[in-house]
Symmetry: D3
Subunit: 319 residues, 6 copies
């Protein structure tokens, strides 16, 4: 794989494959139509203009298609922009696939599924185990592809699964330190807490909120699904209510989207672990290209703070 | 009906029926058991002590039973207290019934049911109509008895139904002024918005929160039930989602218990009407015994304000 | 009347009358002066540039004059802009008048005055009636023309009167549902609550705050006027103080501009009705051109929310 | 003058004059009436019970009368209480007067009036000077007696005048440091800012809020009076509006009771000086009996803070 | 060791050793002095009155002495109280020691010291390691005894060390999951973050704030000490500043006591881990005596929430 | 001295000396390098572009050098911009010095130092006096040059010293009015409160935050220095702690950067005086070019308010 658009300099020649993320038609000052393309590879995104496009072009170069390009990296109003020399659609012959063109979790979907499955396997309470397994299975394909958000943290292919796997590992360590914790509840709460995002968000590419995402949100969606799953599985114990509460309360309080604050210990801890993993992910992103002795850009979701990389730390990898 | 305990003075002889609201066992300084009774009639509540009670007494004078008492109204540490002379359980012969001993809505359950039914009858959208009718029917008995809250407003027998009927009337007037309103949505939203309270609260006497009331709350409960009702009735239109949103958002914002703020016009209005009816009910309660030219006690749920009755207003009725 | 500038498409030819709302002089990059005109008709507003304007043009095309234009609707940086071909001032011969070029209330000033007068006529308390009538009469002309705000809600010709009339109708319905309400106070409070806006705002066209609007505000202005009116009319009862309190407290609390929160029932209700009418007006505006299944633009004054029009609702009228 | 009740110890014999601040009737457990008296001298307050009081006693020992007492200082539930041995009303023969029994400003009313008058005399703007002189004269007697509050700061006889005089002195020093200040405005704003308290509060003894104090507040009252004064004096300049704004904004912002925040420099400074004098007064009160090396009680109006007296400071005077 | 006062019932005979936590002299209604003792053993606290105490008693039964008692567990105003039959001071013969009478961490000071030392040993950055070792050594004795707070969490003997050890273990697990973390910084930050409490608090028994605890607080105290340590050790690298920032920012933001929010990744994580360990400790305390299916008392420091123990969890140990 | 760039009009010829505040290299659309210069004189700032600059130019026209320019005042996108005709570096022959090109305090550094020294001389407590003198002496040069902030108030050459001198004068007047004040503490607190800014900020030209400014802040820096100074001077009294507390608490509360709120009277007053001097300085700046009857621009640091200059006030000086 080439080093990726994010690491090129202005003036570099580009000859590579890209995913079209969005394609928007405009009218130039000479009255002719053009396309504004947002192109992505595994490393990042770049804008390009396809001037004087034909109706055919408009039908070919659409969102989510993969294209081959040549051109040069230029600059326009302080932002990088790719100046196209050629562009063509790809075919099976090109041997390229979607997953190569988006930022993805560092683990493969298969590995993550295996890990989550292992945690479910370790559960001892059959009611909790059956509901969790049922809902994971129901949404398995989407769960393995979905980002965890449209922005801020884990906003990449398989981001949701990666977030869940990280939280499961944290919760396992903590349960060794705090032995009174009910790991069945904790693991189930972690696996289910954001699973409603497979219905709240439109999918891994060009992610937006769905209508039910806007009007209900992933929390309410999943609380409903737990109810339904319990009915289908003929499960009636208090576990159903407790799992619903775990999901309902995981944002911590009303202002943050949870109509009930956590009222059981494992629900409080779920909220805290969610917070840690989200923040560590944001911080790693913010600092990944900062030199030692420098400050990152401001991170809106972290109270708009800027973060310092101590001068005795390692510089970022040169890619 | 006698004038009611709320309107007696210290020193009055009492010879009347009461409902035992709560009965709590204690041990007196002489080592003997006694019962602290909270007794209610249609007008209000009074404490009494049954000293030196036998095991029989403890088994007889329990919460929710109706008793006949004689005694005198006294005072203890600045609060009225009934000094018992005699107490006995009642039988069919006494010809007394529960509904006579609790504060109730000013309309009968039958009248209110008829009015709500009429509003459902007027709906034109069959999906909205069928879901609303289904859920009302499912919870009809509890709906007609339930208070709308444990305190603050409509905290009386049939309070929930009375709150709904009042809001329906307001919404009807407003829809004449703002003709773009969808009355189907508005009426359905009003009927369903607090219906989850039949599961959130323990019932009309000595009302407390149930476990699912604490951990999920009436909003989440009813959003789940709408989902379920739609599945049972094989209804799939966008109306299901919109009705869920109406209920979900009716507290207005996160801090007040709604994980989503209203995002459709009728949902916003539902929230505003709910607010008006609750506040008018609280204000009427706060002012009902205040003399013209005087201030009410502070009302916690109205930002702890005290309200003035202008001196040119009517005095309260002498009962 | 033509269909209005708001309903034209880019590319349409325009040949119509407009009101100049503001005219601002600038210097082009070629060193010549030009005018930026904000033009309005009954449907909305449009920008236009008058390039290379003469001193005569500057003296002619001033704010609040009506002009006749020809041109074409174009676009500049994503916003519509009118490209002028000709522009001329109008004379009596053109037979056009100001009121045709501004958004206005859907009722005529005469109708609204009659309705308000009827409400005053129904008052039983002579002190309240006389003060209200006196102040309405004093400011009648301005009251019938004034907008209710510079933006957000009822920001149009006669917006203030229309807001008052709507609130009076709501209060009448509510007083039937809550019979303990003092309608004299409520009606008077509604009529007077925003009347100070005739001094706070500069009038119906190109509305800005006056100096006393900035330094005192409409609430303080009207509280002063009630005092003065009572003195002129030799009225001394508690009604004067209560009316002042109604006006003073109608924004609900300190953060919203009321130095005292409502302390009488009718004052609290006045605040709530004001809120409902303002929000319904904003929502109707926000949704009037949204297609079913779509979201409105964000509404700043409604917590920056965007509102959804359900897909089973009617599309907007095609004008 | 004796050393005052505040400086006595439990067990001391008391033989002295007191002012009855409040007298409240109660019924003892033996069924007999008694009076709870709150008694004050220049140093502080003490409770006493007059057991088995006759109807005559009830008519004699009323609020604001001065009595002569003998008794002993005791303790009840951790608070000091005076055990009465004898109590009698006073007559002209006793040669006692009200002012000796209340905490008072350290300057005499006459001195303070002279100082305020001097500041008015120094004003150069005749409009500002005439309005200020007119309103001070109108309320002169009450101004010289009134406290500045019911609690927190300057809550004593002549507290209002003393607060004003202190603020005038501060403003004079500051105007030497910041020569662009308009001292006419600043002096007038200081003299008028709290003058509405003569109508907001019930007077110097047993101070409570009046009805107009509750419903309008001293700020609105004085803004009205400035308007009225200007009309009486036929003054029409912008000074009237500016003075009203000075008074209106002196609490700084909405949450603190000012519907408009300060928008002129002298109004901002008035707010800041008011703040300094109030806090210095509260701090002196809080620390006056604290030993070096000790902490004061918590002061509610200073964010509930407790203040430390450094161990190298002087101990309080031994009285 | 006996089962402890916390697990006794009213009516039980008591014959045991206790630590006097506080001893306060009072005067009974018969005029005689008495002592109110707060007595503690390893399980909890109990009040007792020593009536009619002699001057000798007052000199003997003082705070922090250990006594032997006989008596009976009674009740006074709804709280347990020990009725003394005999009380005597202890001598070396009794073979009792302070540490047996206070709640302590579940690990021994020696074990904890060894663990913390091991973490320091693992550090690779010599500047960080030397400063941390120096300050731990300087305060080692107090560090091993000090509570972490006066209330809320880890408010027991060795609570500070136990809190630190727990956080170190959490940080070690997390650093395996987030390999970009600088464990030297993280471990040092954890060891130092609350070390200033050895000067902020008065020690393990009857803990109160010292004067410098009140006026500066443990954060400022330790930031000063790091500065001083670096000077003594002649260390000048950026590590000194970074360590000071770690301690300074560990409360997360201004409202919570940190004048600077975390600006490096490890500082943010230190804050989050501190939060988790404090909350887990509070939750374990709150739930330790709650039966399955029951709610805990409200926990002030957790937003006044009450926590539920699911009915499928284990009951508390019977002691 | 010429009238200054701030008072020139578009079209004026410029022939004058300027300080280069910042010089930033860019690449023009023709591919050639250019410099964007921010130039300042004593009155304000202006942008200029040096097109087609040579490597020599880049080395010559650097930040903090003084240049001689000719050109014309133009406008670009609504902001003034200087169109360069010639530019040359200056030499000793030009006889210009830095201090002439920056806004400065109205008093000379020598005068201010003399005044501060006099206040120190008046102190009676030797511990307070010695620490204050020691720290002032240590930082004397930087203290006399440093601004008090990067923006908002006293953001000019010697701004810090001028702020301190003003506050000392205010405190002296106030101590005459409130004689219980400890002027030693107050003067010392004022002199030291912002002294840490000499390390927090980068100096008087093109001021930015230093790394320790960002990570610790001037408050923490100076609290550390007081500790160190006391050790060097072998001072051990409580004065050290109290002075640290004065500095630590002078921002008033946590949200404003003080981890401890003021807990001694002089610390509270220090905070209040700091507030007054900062606000008066901001207001004078905001109003200095406003005409009577006009409003200033909004001032972000004063709650984004705009301030009115009464029409009966003097117009600004014509320069």
């Amino acid at each position: 794989m080439s080093k990726g658009i994010r690491y090129h300099q202005v003036g570099d020649k580009i000859d590579s494959y890209f995913l079209i993320k969005t394609a928007t038609r405009g009218i130039a000052s000479n009255g002719k139509p053009f396309l504004t393309l947002i192109l992505g590879d595994h490393s990042g995104e770049i804008d390009a203009k396809l001037w004087g496009c034909s109706p055919d072009d408009e039908a070919t170069f659409v969102s989510k298609s993969i294209v081959h390009l040549t051109g040069e990296l230029g600059e326009y109003r302080g932002r990088n922009q790719l100046k196209l020399q050629s562009i063509r659609p790809t075919t099976a012959m090109d041997n390229v696939k979607l997953a190569d063109f988006v930022r993805s979790a560092p683990l493969s979907p298969e590995d993550m599924l295996e890990q989550v499955t292992q945690y479910i396997f370790e559960m001892k309470n059959p009611n909790i185990q059956r509901i969790t397994r049922h809902l994971l299975k129901k949404h398995q394909a989407a769960f393995l592809e979905s980002p965890a958000a449209t922005k801020n943290h884990h906003e990449f292919f398989s981001g949701l699964a990666y977030h869940v796997v990280s939280m499961l590992h944290i919760s396992k360590s903590l349960s060794q330190l705090y032995p009174s914790l009910d790991t069945d509840l904790l693991y189930a709460g972690i696996i289910l807490h954001d699973l409603g995002k497979v219905r709240e968000l439109s999918g891994p590419i060009d992610t937006v909120y769905t209508l039910e995402g806007n009007l209900l949100g992933h929390i309410t969606i999943m609380v409903n699904e737990i109810d339904e799953a319990a009915k289908e599985l003929n499960i009636e114990g208090e576990e159903v209510l407790i799992l619903q509460h775990m999901v309902l309360s995981h944002h911590g309080k009303g202002e943050w989207g949870s109509p009930k604050a956590p009222q059981i210990k494992e629900a409080e801890l779920l909220h805290l672990i969610d917070n840690i993993d989200a923040k560590m992910n944001m911080l790693d992103r913010a600092l990944e290209r900062v030199q030692p002795g420098g400050f990152s850009e401001r991170v809106m979701a972290l109270d708009n703070r800027s973060f310092y990389k101590p001068s005795f730390h390692e510089p970022p990898l040169d890619l």
